[in-house]
Symmetry: C2
Subunit: 114 residues, 2 copies
């Protein structure tokens, strides 16, 4: 989690404070791909640590980008899904992914709408 900008009014700096760190972005990516369970995020190739994942989900929920829901097939466990506010970050992730695809050798597309 990035350090908070000291009273910056820059929308870039403030947005980055909210979800601009690497792990948060990758969790958002997984949410866009349709993942919702703790274990699904854990399976991603970047291998996030369980405490880090819990931390990022908590922050995203606190920022209202993500909300939890009761999964009927998995009682006792939370499901995580994007809110409308969270979904509105999609153009950002798409812009970064498109740049990566165009500029970094060996990268492969993901983030199919689900």
């Amino acid at each position: 989690m990035p350090a908070k900008s000291k009273r910056s009014v820059c929308p870039l700096a403030c947005a980055l404070d909210l979800f601009g760190d690497r792990w948060t972005m990758l969790v958002l990516r997984d949410l866009f791909v349709g993942k919702s369970q703790f274990g699904e995020f854990m399976k991603s190739p970047e291998h996030i640590a369980s405490n880090t994942l819990a931390d990022r989900l908590e922050r995203l929920v606190a920022a209202r980008l993500v909300e939890t829901f009761r999964s009927e097939e998995r009682p006792g466990a939370d499901g995580y899904r994007l809110t409308a506010k969270g979904s509105s970050t999609r153009p950002i992730l798409e812009a970064i992914m498109n740049w990566g695809l165009a500029n970094i050798r060996g990268t492969e597309a993901r983030l199919q709408p689900k």
Copy 2:
């Protein structure tokens, strides 16, 4: 500077490894605004440390997003400017800024074309 993704092929993860950390993004923002001198970056409201700034500029140059040039009015000092590759990140910064403007109270637009 973020830790490198261990052989990830995700264009998002790889792009974030390149310029996805807070300070790097803010330096890019300043470049888009037209700043080119070390001292100009230092004056930004987020107050980057001089060693951190030097590090980020070096990384950006190494990644070919930025190049140095000889400033005729400031001999003995490097000027920094975006390369074409660096300029191509503009849609990313714009997407984040637009999100911040729309979703975070108290933020104000910048990144006027210069």
